[in-house]
Amino acid sequence: MATVTLDRPSTNAPQLRKDPKQGRRIVARVVLYAAMIVAAAAIMLPFFWMVTSSLKTNNQVFSVPIQWLPDPVVWGNYLDIWAKADMLNWVKNTLILSVSVTFLQVLTGSFAAYGFSKVRFPGRDVLFLTYVGTIAVPWQAYMIPQFIMLSKAGLSNTLWSILALQTFSAFGVFLMKQYYESIPEELSEAARIDGLSEYSIWRKIVLPLSGPAVATLTLLTFVNTWNDYLGPLIYLRDRDIWTIQIGLKSFVSQYNAEYALIMTGSVISVLPIALIFMLGQRYFVQGIATSGLKG
């Protein structure tokens, strides 16, 4: 990271004239902070409204004028919802899916990325281009033939279908490969001279060094699977294998006047992701920033 202040000798200003500059810098800081706080407040407002509404009674949600804070605080919503909706089961299904998809995606993705970035063989780059090329093909364009294939394979209406859909994304391979390229070739060369096989090099050297990329891919995959609405909507028909997203959607249609409870369900659907994100955000923000682009 670059340092903030660089005293440039180029202006040849005498030492005395530093004061107004300092003053201007403080003003600039204050203006910046003010702008950031306004932007942050505007971005977070819907979430604030979601959380406060989940603690109100139904007729307070749309009261005129707006009631910003719940009074009284109705904690009961967070107890009622488990009885009214099959929340626990939906959360469980979504958790099973998210964890297994993430594990498989990171494993196969980082494994393939090693082949693409550290092993030289003919046809490798053409193959990788095929991968990257499909990033430009919207899933919505081939969801129908894919659905027909998985139905014929008997996987429709099972959790396996979502596992299959989400696990093999070209994006994961792409992200890991970008990161592997930044690991110096000398390291693997040295290990080869020491007699390590390529598989050991991946397991003992390259994988341990790629913490930020693994963390990023883990978080992104988990979040994507947790939040996926279209996949479960198309594939999962039985209520007992529903995920939180389609469960919540059906709950909203069923109890469309229970505004406070709908908000309670929404908060519950966002909460796990928010927690994971808070824990890993340092990696996350860095990882996306460094993996998405190279010149």
């Binding site: 660089l6 063989f121 299959a164 050297i205 198309i234 959607k249 369900g265």
Partner: protein, 310 residues
């Protein structure tokens, strides 16, 4: 950092000639073993459906019995299908609003948050947060905020003295702008991160040099920041374009294509024809159109980018 002891004096000996073919074979084998586990899934679940799509588009099939080859009939139907034209126009309308607004919002945020200051990580996290929250929750919350009579947004507008605030998702005129507003709010944090990475890769010397030459802040932005960000902007625009043309989930939950057909987009038309009406052949023809739109736009963007670099 892991340290591997390397004896610098012992330079690796060049491999003997006659082994080179065997070595290549061995390396190819090893490379494939790494790639294969992921590639099998990728080939079966992505490449194969794309190939099948181009067959289905020329058939008539209702998911029961056999698919009948009907040649170009599906595509002739597209030419006279008014709903398809509406979906195409709506998708273009969404993209034309969504792409520039998201670009501007994410670049603006990136410039604002590209300072080393106390608490900056918190603000970046806040900006990114909408992107990782569930579509259903977001759609439901915004639908309530947009509620025409007593929703918070219209209450606020009335308080400002606007007597007839828009009906948002309940009005055919305002429904698409409402969707665009929510999707810009949702996605800008992600593209902001990409822009931040681009901004941080700009060498400070360029700014220093510009300053020495007497360029003020706005000139520095136009003559240093904008040209240096070009690769980032290109990358972001390509991704944003594809994202815009495949928009579906947000619309399904917020408006379901309505009111009327005012927010019906291409991806939803595919969904409707396929999964709701079992008209799989025709839905595939619409999907082929979507496929080629995304492909063409990506290719054009790459060509324009190449020309600019020369």
């Amino acid at each position: 950092m892991a340290t591997t002891a390397v004896d610098v004096a012992a330079a690796p000996t060049p491999p003997p000639r006659r082994n080179s073919r065997r070595l290549t074979l061995r390396r190819t084998f090893i490379g494939w073993t790494f790639i294969l586990p992921n590639f099998i899934g990728f080939a079966v679940l992505t490449l194969t459906p794309v190939v099948i799509l181009f067959y289905l588009a020329f058939t008539s099939w209702n998911a029961f019995g056999q698919a009948n080859w009907i040649g170009l009939e599906n595509f002739q139907r597209l030419i006279t299908d008014g709903t398809f034209h509406t979906a195409l126009a709506n998708t273009a309308y969404y993209a034309v609003m969504h792409i520039p607004l998201t670009l501007a919002a994410s670049l603006g945020l990136a410039l604002l948050l590209n300072h080393k200051m106390r608490g900056i990580a918190f603000f970046r996290t806040v900006a990114f947060f909408p992107y990782i929250t569930s579509i259903v929750a977001i759609a439901v919350v915004w639908n309530m905020l947009f509620s025409p009579d007593s929703g918070p947004i219209n209450q606020f507008l009335m308080a400002l003295g606007i007597d007839n605030p828009p009906g948002w998702t309940t009005s055919a005129t305002w429904s698409m702008p409402s969707i665009v507003l929510v999707s810009v709010w949702r996605e800008m944090g992600y593209y902001m991160l990409l822009f931040l990475a681009g901004l941080q890769a700009i060498p400070r010397e360029l700014y220093e040099a510009a300053r020495v030459d007497g360029a003020h802040a706005i000139q520095r932005f136009w003559n240093v920041t904008v040209p240096s960000l070009r690769p980032t902007t290109f990358f972001v625009t390509v991704i944003l374009t594809i994202q815009s043309f495949k928009i579906l989930d947000l619309i399904l939950v917020m408006t379901d294509g309505g009111p009327g057909t005012s927010t019906l987009v291409l991806a939803q038309y595919i969904y409707r024809k396929g999964f709701e009406e079992n008209d799989f052949g025709y839905a595939s023809a619409v999907a082929v159109v979507l496929f080629f739109i995304c492909l063409a736009l990506t290719v054009v963007q790459f060509l324009l980018n190449k020309r600019r670099e020369v």
